[in-house]
Amino acid sequence: MNEVPTVFQRRIIIGAVLSIAAFALVGIRLVHVTLLKSLDGVRAAEQVVARADLTDRNGELLARDLPVKDLYARPKVFWDKQEAARGLAEATGASETRLLNGFNNAKNPYVLVARQITPDTEAKVMHLGLPGLEFETGGKRYYPDGRNAAQVIGVTDPDNNGVSGLELGLQDEIRAAAGGKVATSIDTRVQYILAHEVNAAREMFRAKAGAGLVMDVNNGEVLGMVSIPNFDPNTRRLSPGDSTRNAIAQDIYELGSVFKIFSFALGFEDRTIRLDESFPIGQGYKIGKHTIHEAERMPATLLGRDILAQSSNIGTAQIALRSGGVRQREFLTHLGLLRPVQSELPETARPLYPSNWGTIETATVGFGHGISVSPLSFATATATVVNGGRRISPTFIKQSASDLRGEQVIKPQTSQAMRDLLRYVVTDGTGGKADVPGYDVGGKTGSAQVPGPNGRYIPHALRTSFVAVFPAHNPRYIVFVTLDQPHGTKETFGFALAGYTAAPMAGRIIQRVAPLLGVPNNAPPTKLASGYP
C-alpha cells in the first residue's frame, strides 16, 4: 500500500514542483506588472514648463508658464448630458450650447470642455461630481505687468509658441532655457512710468494714440517701450479700442522737426554752418514752384543756433541744401535711417523716402517731411549722434557691457556740438518744458502734419514728438515720446504743438526715471560750444 516512489517518480514530482513554481513566479510577476505597478506610488511629475521665464534687467518677472489643465469630457458616461453641459459651462465659462452639441455628437468620444483652466476653476469642476472628466496638464503664459509691456513682450498662442514681440523674437533662447530665465533689457519700473505718463498725456490732450521709448545711448539697451492703445496679454482677447501694434517699432511716420537734428549734425560734419551765422528767414522760401513756410511766426533773421532752438523750417532747409541731396542721403544711410532697424523684436518697418532725391526733397527731408521712419530707428540714429558719434544697435537683451558703441559714424566734435545745441533748445528754445533741474536735459521738439487716407495732410492734425537726452554733457539715456493728434487745453492756451504736449511729458518721465537709473542730479549746466566749428 505504502509504496515508496521510485527514483523516476521522485524526479517527476520535483520537476513538476519546479515547473509550477516557475509558472507561479511568472504569474506573480504578471500580476505585479499589470495591476500593481501603477499603484506603486506617484507618477513622475509631468513637465509643464515649455518656455523659460522672461525677466526684466533686475530679475523681476515679465512672463512665466503657470501650471494649468485642459479639461476633456467623455459624454457617454454622463447620465444627464444637458445638466452636465450647464454645470461645466458655469464652472469653466465655456459655451453651454457648444458643449451640448459636442456631447450629443456620437462621433466624439472626447469633448474638449476648456483649455488652460486655473486651479480655482478645476476646484469648481471637481465640485460638480461628474464622472468621465479628464484633465491634461499643460502650461499657460502669464504676464504679471499686463498691459504695460504688452506689445514689447508679446504673447504666445495656446500651444505656447511665441506669436509677437520678444516672445517670438527670443523664441529660440526661451525654448533652450526652458525652466530657467531669459533676462531682457527692460526695466519694469521705467516701463511702468513710461506707460503711466504716456497714458496721462494721451488723456489730457485727447490724443488718438501715444508712444514712448527709453534707451541707453552707449549700449543700445531698451529700458522701456510703450505703445498706447495696448491690450491685455493675459486674456488673449481684444477689447474695443485695443491695439496690438507696436507704434515705436512697427509703424513709420514723418517725424517733423525732430529730424532737424540730422541736418545740423550734417552741417557740423561738413563744416557748412556756424552757430553765430545769421540766416535770412522771411515769410517763405521758394524752391522752384514750391514755397517752404514756417509753422509759427519767425523773425526776419535767425542765428544758426536759434534755427534749431526755434525750429525754423526755412533755416534748416537752407542748411540741408548746403550739403546737397547726395551727401544728405549718404549721411542718413550711415546713420541707419534708410533701412529697417534690426533688433530682437520681430516687428520692424521699412522706411519710406524719396525715390527721386532732388532739391525740394533735400529741403523737406532736412526738416523731417517727405521721409518716414520708425521711432525706434530715429531714436537709434539720435543716440549715435549724441553718444560721441559711434553706431549702436538697439537691443532687448540685458547686456553685461555698459559700452557697446561700434563704428565711428560722425566726428566726436560734431557729437559734442550737437549735445550742446540740444541743451540750448531746452534752455532757450521750444523744449523748455522738458527741463528738469539737475539733470541737464537736452532735446528737440517735432510737430509734424498727419497725412490722411487720401495722402493729403489733415488740417490742424499734428503728430507731436520730443526726443530728449540726459545728462546732455555726458548722455546716458535717450527718451522719445510721441502723441498722435493731440488737442490743446486751457493750460496750453489751445496750443497742441510739441513744446506744449510732448516736451512736458518727456520732462516728467525724466524726472521720475532718472533717480531710479542712478543718474546724479548735480550735472553742471552745459554751455553752448563756443567757436565751433
Binding site: G41, V42, R43, A45, L66, Y142, P144, P437, R512, N521
Partner: protein
C-alpha cells in the same frame, strides 16, 4: 558527498534568489519614494512659481504707486529734493548750506499749497 554538494548549491541558489529579490524590492521602494519626492518638489516648485507671480502682480510699480498715493498721500518728489549720500556732510563737518551758501541745484520751485495762504 555529491548530494550534500547539490543541496548546498540549491540552497545557495535559493538564498541568492531571496537576496536578489530583497535588493530588487528595496530598489523598487526607493524608486517609488524618489518619484514621490520628485513629484512633491515639482508641486512645490509650481506653487512657488504661482506665488512669485502673484507677488510680482501685487508688488508691481503700478499697484504700489496707487497704494502709496491713496493710503499714504505720497507724491512724486521734485529732482531738487533728491541728493546722493556723497553729497551729505560727514559727521562733524560744517553743514555748508546753512552758512548763507546758495543751495546746490535749488532751481525748482515748490508750488504754493492752499494751506500756505499764498
Amino acid at each position: 558527498m555529491v548530494r550534500i554538494l547539490n543541496f548546498f548549491c540549491v540552497a545557495l541558489m535559493g538564498f541568492s534568489i531571496l537576496a536578489l529579490y530583497h535588493v530588487s524590492e528595496k530598489t523598487r521602494v526607493a524608486h517609488v519614494q524618489l518619484n514621490q519626492v520628485t513629484a512633491t518638489i515639482a508641486k512645490e516648485r509650481g506653487a512657488i512659481g504661482v506665488l512669485e507671480t502673484e507677488w510680482q502682480h501685487v508688488a508691481s510699480p503700478e499697484r504700489v504707486q496707487q497704494l502709496a498715493q491713496s493710503k499714504l498721500g505720497m507724491a512724486d518728489s521734485a529732482s531738487a529734493q533728491l541728493s546722493s549720500f556723497e553729497d551729505l556732510p560727514r559727521r562733524g563737518a560744517d553743514p555748508a548750506p546753512l552758512n548763507n551758501t546758495p543751495l546746490h541745484n535749488a532751481s525748482a520751485q515748490i508750488p504754493a499749497t492752499p494751506e500756505s495762504g499764498m
